[in-house]
Symmetry: C2
Subunit: 178 residues, 2 copies
DNA sequence: CGAATGTTTCAGATAATCGTGAAACCACCC
DNA sequence: GGGTGGTTTCACGATTATCTGAAACATTCG
């Protein structure tokens, strides 16, 4: 296999990750940049990334900053070189958990709040003397409770993920459903 | 609490779900429509949804069809009424698993494929007589393997989710991390 | 059949998102 | 200070996603 073909498989992987990440609501280029850093044996400069992925300077700069905000890419300092170098966070779980938590926890907490509020609002209707009103309250109560359960489970899952990520030296832990 | 306030909390919940769903890459209105159906004590017509959420006829029709394609909303027949009525799928796990599997499995399989391809491509370089080439191959091999693990785990998780959803009469099962 | 009512489709309007590249900015060196 | 990279910012244009509303279509009923 030639050098050229090797390079080709690298590009394949980066683009694939780009698409995959896009699916989860990030920009494709975020995935591509992360992936190329992840596969690079040494830190890369913005310029190298720009060339490898054929992006504009602006796009690279913004993408790198964004990735840094999510904590999945780090700036490293190479003594004697004025340029910034970048590496990828390689502990995948740590990354996933951080992204998840940042991304969802606010919304999940909001769900929990609103659901609880709605629940207590419904309680008053459980004693209404309008039959239909009561029925409706009972049903909505049950459904909102189910949502609350899901939200709580999500929160719990996040918590667990975060906790294991903290302890875990290993990159992968095992998830089991029963 | 007044009727008006009750209604208000309903709207809060629907809009919240809208935003939450948006986060996971669906249209906000899909979440809103599903949520209002989920909280409605009885099936609703397209028109009722249109009024409740202030959408155009086209938007409602398209959103409902889309939700039906994902299997999270069902058309129901109300004898003696010409209009179509709609209800929400209420088994949340069933829903989640179905959506997940449809959405991801293709991409996950693609990840597995490409990673495996890249791995075998790298194998040739492990015996290269260029030291740097060899080093690089070793590192990339390890990293791609980690990705492969994640992809496999994802696939496994999906499988488990699907399996439990099939058996499960209960709406919620328990997830545990160790 | 044809009027009445409900539903779907689709072309165009509108809005949100993304990438570009040049200009501004910054840090370092001479 | 002025020059030399390197980096960030941002107004703009391109692209894409989304919504609208009216026309086409379907179904029921008199």
């Amino acid at each position: 296999m030639s050098e050229r073909e090797l390079w080709r498989s690298e590009v394949l992987v980066t683009d694939l990750i780009g698409r995959l990440i896009e699916f989860w609501g990030f920009k494709r280029n975020m995935g591509r940049v992360w992936a190329i850093l992840y596969l690079s044996p040494r830190p890369m400069t913005a310029q190298a990334i720009r060339e490898a992925l054929k992006l504009s300077t602006g796009a690279v700069s913004m993408t790198l900053n964004e990735l840094a905000r999510w904590g999945v890419v780090k700036k490293v300092w190479v003594p004697g070189d004025r340029r910034d170098y970048f590496t990828a966070e390689t502990q995948i779980w740590k990354m996933v958990s951080r992204v998840m938590s940042e991304r969802e926890s606010g919304e999940i907490l909001a769900v929990i709040d609103v659901c609880e509020e709605a629940l207590s609002a419904l309680d008053d209707h459980l004693e209404s003397n309008d039959v239909e009103d009561r029925e409706r309250a009972v049903l909505q109560r049950a459904r909102i409770k189910a949502l609350l359960d899901v939200a709580r489970l999500g929160k719990q899952l996040l918590g667990a993920l975060l906790a294991t990520a903290k302890v875990d030296a290993e990159p992968l832990s095992r998830i089991e459903l029963r």
